[in-house]
């Protein structure tokens, strides 16, 4: 792997600038072999080289070499955002190209040229996601909007689209918001059941804290049942993965630092995530902070202690589930678990340890579902094209429950099941293991 010699302070330095070339050096590993093409979900859709990892890297190199300029609205710009950053290409790349790092940087560079983000985008990323108070308000507002006549009035007046351009057209994507009593914050410290094995930190996550708190509850129940004391913090409520993917590396760095500080305060032995996207991003904190004086070793330390819940339970040992679950379950591997963290066997091992559970094979299990953070909101047509293909494979597997370990994917598959008219339960593997 070509590691840049000196990295610039500016995370968005032009590829073509002297500073940016250090970031760009990462692309030089690509030898144009093309082995990444067939695993790329966007190349599968279009068959277009420019929509493939190799094609995108080729365009990045051309930008760096000054052969083309990175223009907003160009195919290069479009392709940068068409990419799901699913990292399937990284798994098959024999040269070890770090596609995620390249795309994040290229988006950052493009953002500077495109100008300030829309009101809605900035508000969502910088105000709502990192703050539990705002997340709760947003969830309340969504619930009121979708369940009372107020929504209809706002829609008619055009206020919704003024605030969030194009939002009404995407109402079908709106997730179900649980009642308030089902999205209460977890306590700051949860005692272990029985003898204490150690302390772990856990983050409830931004979207999950409001929409999938039942999964968080199941996660801490399993952790405490296995002798782990669980320590949590409220804010920042987000790891910063969505920001980094959107090219807002500056704010992603701020969030990373705050999370490192909070984690250090817990004095925990491990940092446990039940969200593949968050775990993958936190394990990459060192890459994000490598140029920030005094932060690199702290970032490396948190990364070394970070585990996905499935990875952690298999590594440290866990009490098997007692009660049987006679279910046909298919396991879909979240991109940021299988490709991002190379964690694949452990969640399946957890599922197989559940009495009565039948794990059925799923074709395309390591392919992206199209959720990809904000992607499903911003590129809905592409996202749905990918999702609909996945739903056919899921239907063919004959499963009753689809298990997957990432909030974005869980919400996406619930939407996919609605669209396909399937009677399918979507669960996190930890919910199947949990007996609470």
């Amino acid at each position: 792997m070509t590691e840049p010699a000196v990295l610039p302070k500016d995370p968005c330095a032009d590829f073509a600038s002297a500073e940016g070339r250090a970031h760009f050096a990462r692309s030089l590993d690509c030898v144009h072999c093309g082995l990444c093409l067939p695993v790329c979900p966007t190349y599968q859709l279009t068959g277009n080289e420019a929509s493939s990892p190799r094609g995108r890297i080729y365009m990045m190199r051309a930008v760096a070499d000054g052969r083309i300029s990175a223009e907003p609205g160009s195919t290069y710009d479009n392709e940068l955002h068409f990419c799901l950053v699913c990292r399937a290409c990284e798994t098959v790349c024999p040269s070890g190209v770090q596609m995620e790092a390249l795309v994040e940087h290229a988006r950052c560079e493009m953002n500077k040229k495109t100008g300030p983000p829309s009101r809605a985008r900035r508000f969502l990323l910088r105000t709502v996601l990192p703050d539990r108070k705002w997340l709760r308000r947003a969830a309340d507002a969504t619930a009121i909007y979708s369940k009372t006549p107020i929504g209809k009035i706002l829609r008619k007046l055009g206020i919704v689209d003024w605030l969030f351009p194009g939002a009404t057209a995407r109402e079908a994507l709106m997730p179900h918001v649980p009642k308030r009593e089902h999205r209460r914050d977890l306590p700051a410290l949860l005692p272990p059941v029985g003898e204490k094995r150690g302390r772990v930190a856990f983050q409830e996550g931004c979207v999950a804290s409001q929409l999938l708190q039942d999964i968080n509850e199941a996660t801490v129940r399993v952790l405490t049942r296995n002798g782990w004391e669980v320590s949590l913090w409220k804010n920042p409520s987000c790891c910063g993965a969505l920001h980094a993917h959107a090219g807002d590396l500056e704010f992603a760095r701020e969030l990373a630092k705050k999370n490192i500080e909070e984690f250090e305060k817990t004095k925990a032995d491990f940092f446990i995530l039940n969200s593949a996207g968050c775990g993958s991003h936190i394990k990459n904190y060192a890459r994000l902070l490598e140029v920030e004086t005094g932060w690199l070793h702290r970032a490396k330390e948190i990364a070394a202690k970070t585990r996905d819940i499935g990875e952690f339970l298999v590594e440290t040992g866990y009490k098997p589930r007692n009660g049987p679950r006679a279910l046909r379950v298919a396991y879909d591997e979240p991109c940021h678990l299988v490709h991002g963290q190379r964690v694949s066997a452990q969640p399946k091992q957890l599922l197989q340890s559940i009495p009565g559970l039948q794990l059925v094979p799923l074709a395309g299990a390591t392919d992206c579902c199209g959720a990809a953070g904000l992607y499903s909101l911003e590129r809905t047509t592409d996202s749905m094209a990918i999702l609909d293909g996945k739903m056919q494979q899921i239907r063919a597997s004959g499963c009753e429950v689809l298990a997957t370990g990432n909030p974005g994917c869980i919400l996406q598959y619930r939407l996919g099941a609605r669209r396909a008219g399937m009677n399918l339960q979507i669960m996190h593997p930890i919910q199947l293991l949990d007996e609470g």
Partner: protein, 481 residues
Amino acid sequence: MAHSTPVPTSHADPVVQELVAALGENSVAADRDTLLAYECDGLALYKQRPRMVIWPNSTEQVSAAVRILHRFGVPIVPRGAGTGLSGGATPVENGALIQLSRMKRILDVNPTDRMARVEMGVINADLSAHVARFGLAYAPDPSSQTACTLGGNVAENAGGPHCYKYGATSLHVLSLKVVLSNGNITELGSPDADPIGYDLRTLFIGSEGTLGIATEAWVRLIPKPEIVETWLAPFASMDAACKAVSSIVASGIQPAAIEILDDRTIAAIEASVFAAGYPLDAAAVLLVEVDGAPIEVGRDGERIRGICQQFGALNIQFARDEDERKRLWKGRKGAFGAMGRVAPDLYVMDCVVPRSKLPAALDAIREICDRYKVRNANVFHAGDGNLHPNISYDGRDADETKRVLAAGEEIVKMCVALGGTLSGEHGIGIEKNIYMPLVFGAGELDAFANLRRAFDPDGLMNPGKVMPAALCGEIAGAMKR
């Protein structure tokens, strides 16, 4: 194809306008960035932006596009996945690229007669995966098989490690549906019997897109062997490894594959995601595979191991199960990509020498590369004497690039001088067309040119490829060195 990606297209070009009208907005692109992404295939040494890129989704669409291009006199270059290594899919100046990536349907599988009808955009490995449930497989297995298309395989008459036993693509294609240079659709060969009269099917396979565009084929499927055994034999010298290969072949055993990897390739693989546990202290490793009935495999395997030991093989590794077998092969198949760790660019060469000349050729390759101060590693199909010298370089360094090309030329000439030939399986493309006179006389080249004119009187099909430019009256501008 339903996707929301807007492909901004230059409608100023009247040819593009007609293509869009015939095939639809989503099937043609002519914008700056898309054209840039297509300026080279797996051989990145040569670059040329096409005039437009076309993605047909049926034989009829290919035909419609070719008719329009033919009428406007626009040269046509077909492309599969763009993994080829001789520049077969390098665009030509002012020419169109027709990429068959959307034609990826497996149309019919006939397990009784052991054959399948496929579109040419189907990925090689996908076909084997699809027919595995019938206990069948598609035999040719180029190293890029997880990405390359059957259409590209047909164009290049692609091989692969197992073609040592099973033969290259031409032995596995029963019939082809092709679009000729005027847009006419025709069938070559027949799935039911060997061709009567001129065997145009075999002529077409390996013609590198110069005789037309194949869109569909009936291909032969082989029964998966009962058992497969794979060994990795490390040697202290390349010479000993090559002698072991000669001795295995001379003994009359027919292994499924015999591959050699040198120390520098091993080092690159072991540092990559394809790390296969190859010994880092060996000068060369021999990867041998035997397949067939258990009795036969057991007997041949024992003899092969004996021969390897006789030539000083150190610690022979045996793949005990399918996972270990896959691991041993993973390193070999990922070897080229793994070389990406050595330098930004890689030139994967392909030439052939008589098996007995392998040690001499390898010594010469190292000498030539050292003299030109370029970094070389070797991995090759030893059973066929098919060498793949890899030269790592940085394409942004003009001087180094020039030295790479000069070293490449000497290597080709050296192989021919040793009694070998220009290519084992990558094809001629634009990489080696100028060397054709090294192996063919004026009379043969003239016959080739006449044959080509019979299929393509206007010289529009992949001009400048295969034949030296002067001979086909077409300078593609691709040979700018």
